[in-house]
């Protein structure tokens, strides 16, 4: 098995970098790249306490499979890829996304990791609601999946 993707419900479990490292481990790897995205305590001058991630589960999982399979075809068919994204209420410091790649060479490992991150942001139906120190909260703007030619 060379591909693992999941949407992790934070109230049930947390994303584990140890699990990711174990999954991509192989004697064939000359390079292993691990990208960790975390909830940070500031955005656009506002003090953030947490982020709630909402997701269309089935479509997200379908998109993860597609993105990772495409990454393998584009960069390294033998790569081992681990991709998990959190869903639910994640306090500051929590891992929101983890992309781990095991590949023969560093260039492919970096490229696959970057490709997956950018495509998840543009293809996977996931939304963020930030919670602020003052008690307010706000859904963040994002990338429309509506065909551009249809938008007025």
């Amino acid at each position: 098995m060379s591909l693992h993707t999941a949407l992790v419900k934070i109230e049930e479990e947390k994303i584990s970098s140890e699990k990711a490292k174990k999954f991509i481990s192989s004697e064939k790897n000359g390079a292993e790249s691990i990208f960790i995205g975390r909830v940070r305590n500031e955005n656009s001058g506002k003090k953030v306490t947490a982020v709630t991630y909402d997701a269309h589960d089935q479509a997200v999982l379908k998109s993860f499979e597609m993105i990772c399979s495409t990454a393998k075809i584009k960069f390294d068919n033998n790569a081992k890829i681990f991709l998990e994204h959190v869903k639910g209420y994640a306090p500051v410091g929590e891992i929101s996304i983890l992309i781990a790649v095991g590949s023969g060479h560093r260039d492919e490992a970096f490229k696959i990791s970057r490709y997956i991150l950018e495509e998840v942001k543009h293809q996977s139906p996931i939304w963020k609601k930030e919670h602020y120190v003052d008690g307010k909260e706000e859904w963040l703007p994002g990338h429309s999946l509506r065909p551009t030619k249809e938008i007025k």
Binding site: G37, Y53, D54, A55, H56, Q58, A59, V60, K62, H85, S96, I97, L117, V120, K121, H122, Q123, S124, P125, I126, W127, K128, K129, E138, W139, L140, P141, G142, H143, S144, L145, R146, P147, E150, I151, K152
Partner: protein, 88 residues
């Protein structure tokens, strides 16, 4: 006719529940649904950040595929509204 709209992201402001039942004329399409959402938002949520939602949202069918404006809705159909995304 009536459809069930499953709410995600910022569209959850439209209801305390996960879905919103919307009444439409028979043979309505997605474009008509956008018009009705625009009316609902203008009347009830004009002070929110939802003003652009009817134009920027995509819609998924029950098969989780993007459907275009000419897609004809069926009575009792279950549709998902997909506001602009931004995970990571």
């Amino acid at each position: 006719m009536e459809i069930q709209l499953k709410l995600y992201g910022s569209s959850k402001i439209l209801s305390d529940k996960d879905t919103l039942n919307i009444q439409l004329p028979n043979n309505s399409d997605i474009k008509k649904l956008r018009d009705i959402l625009d009316k609902i938002i203008s009347e009830k949520y004009s002070k929110s950040n939802l003003k652009s939602l009817p134009q920027t949202a995509a819609f998924f069918s029950e098969r989780d595929e993007v459907i275009n404006d000419s897609y004809k809705l069926r009575n009792k159909e279950f549709i998902s509204i997909i506001p602009p995304i931004g995970g990571g």
